[in-house]
Symmetry: C2
Subunit: 327 residues, 2 copies
């Protein structure tokens, strides 16, 4: 019976992204014992990515000196809509996947129970369960990066909705005549406040002759621009970048108000690359704008804050998922 007792001790959380895969080994107290990271190499195809996920999981276990037979379950956050009942990734554009039963595939290789959820849901679960110690009954996690996504905790549980697609906040229309979005519509939150939206606005400004320190860092073509470049440019006094980032934060504040009006959450937690790099500029504007746009009474004792988990939200949340699904 020693095996079975020790088997219950550990979980592994996996953050499956378009560019990198991360895995963390956690004990039941959600302490991270080890982690590992590999490049996704999505362009090399589904089979290879699956192999790399397996490699990343095995590495995390080995580094923590734990055998997979001691791992109770593996949780995975995947980028796109997921049928969390069956563990099927419905669609993952960044990986080029469509309709892959990741749970089945990995269980047949690893012989450990696997649970799959959408990445924004997993990050929100990690923030609620670990960063906020399970306190908020109603919260939303909003993640600003290349795109924009969110996860909902309602009545203390992840909320997926009827088609299991809940949380698609990135395509909430805020400015019906606004800039074009990748989805084909205009003025979506993502077309106004994602890193892609900021990049497009800056690229157009630079092409029209406006000055920015970004061209010194990256040249005239800003395509390699990361959130960290934006932070550096603002720190060095780049007023164009400063203005465009503030504008994005303003729209994020309106989106937060729309959600507060509709759902009355207790916590709105923001994360993702943009927030990690530009928290100092963006969070005050987001909170002030949200308070301005929210209806009287809706914001009472509501906390709007940046997540402290940063890049670890995914592996933490995936571990919480693994633990919850097996408890």
């Amino acid at each position: 019976m020693e095996t079975s007792a020790s088997k219950a001790e550990f979980v592994i959380g996996v953050d499956l992204g378009g560019t990198k895969i991360m895995a963390g080994l956690f004990n039941r107290q959600m302490e991270c014992l080890s982690h590992s990271k590999v490049r996704t190499k999505a362009q090399k195809g589904q089979e290879l990515v699956k192999e790399r996920i397996v490699r990343c999981i095995r590495e995390a276990a080995e580094k923590g000196q734990v055998g997979l037979d001691q791992v109770r379950a593996i949780g995975i956050g995947a980028p796109g809509p997921v049928d969390s009942e069956t563990g099927r990734v419905v669609f993952a554009p960044n990986l080029g996947w469509r309709d892959l039963n990741l749970k089945q595939e990995l269980e047949s290789i690893l012989h450990v129970p696997v649970f799959v959820e959408n990445d924004c849901n997993v990050c929100t679960l990690g923030i609620q369960a670990v960063e906020l110690r399970g306190n908020p009954r109603h919260m939303i996690g909003i993640f600003l990066g290349t795109g924009i996504g969110s996860g909902l905790i309602l009545n203390g549980q992840l909320f997926n909705g009827f088609n299991r697609t809940a949380g698609e906040i990135g395509h909430m229309v805020l400015d019906v005549n606004g800039p074009e979005c990748g989805c084909g519509k205009k003025g979506c939150f993502e077309a106004l406040a994602s890193r892609t939206a900021i990049f497009k606005r800056l690229q157009a400004a630079v092409e029209s002759g406006q000055e920015s320190l970004l061209t010194q860092m990256l040249g005239k073509d800003l395509r390699r621009m990361r959130s960290s470049h934006l932070r550096k440019a603002v720190a060095r006094g780049d007023s164009l970048v400063d203005q465009v980032v503030r504008q994005a934060a303003h729209f994020a504040g309106i989106a937060v108000a729309n959600v507060v009006n509709l759902l009355s959450p207790e916590f709105v937690v923001l994360g993702g690359g943009l927030i990690e790099q530009l928290e100092d500029i963006m969070m005050t504007i987001i909170a002030d704008t949200a308070s301005h746009y929210a209806m009287p009474g809706t914001m009472k004792e509501v906390s709007i804050q940046a997540s402290r988990l940063a890049d670890d939200a995914g592996i933490v949340g995936a571990s919480v998922l693994a633990l919850r699904r097996t408890t």
Copy 2:
């Protein structure tokens, strides 16, 4: 024990509005046995309105030949934010009320348990429980009239959120540079698709010299305009009214898509005076626009429909509330 058994037989649902109060007597099968209606006379003050609510309740019971001792509970839908735990009406601008414990006040007069909820929540509950026979686990009821409000059923239960203000969809920003809203912001759903928004657009068009049959019906000042006038004008071929109503429906469709993207409900049910009068024109546009704006996969098997309960949604829903809270 006869009293206690018969007492369990009936409930009364009350729809407390700014212009009229309606009450309905229902049995446990949610069959309406009688109803009554009185004018609210809100301008005459809180005490008088309370007396009129009591009169309306007593009338419904008398018409149904039922004594109040045979009434199990009374449910009330009130216009504004309500603390449904305590039965306190937090704020009801149409009644001029602020912070009134309607539950306590009425229980001390009627000696029957009273439960109070926001009117949009109550209507949504009525639609879910009676019109849709309790089927949808996740649905939203959206009501277009003078203003715009909504109610949420999530996991089969009314969802109030942290501050009990959930459902404030009327102030969801859809067009950040759009027309001014009564709330002081711009481009809220309510400023684009309520009867008030339609009225403002038509009034401005008429003042700028555009032709409309409405001026034949109402004169140059359209302030007395009701949703039924809009229906009649469109039926008689008024192209200005037709165009403005279609535009409002388009915005309602975008709002529906925003909600479908965020919450993935199974049913979106629309009601309120505008929908009752203009369903034929508006519903197709709302459904088509919502499908266009919603993300792929989110609308699968989702039903967008008009409520059949019309003006009875309030008393039906309030009766369901009364029954649920005492079962």
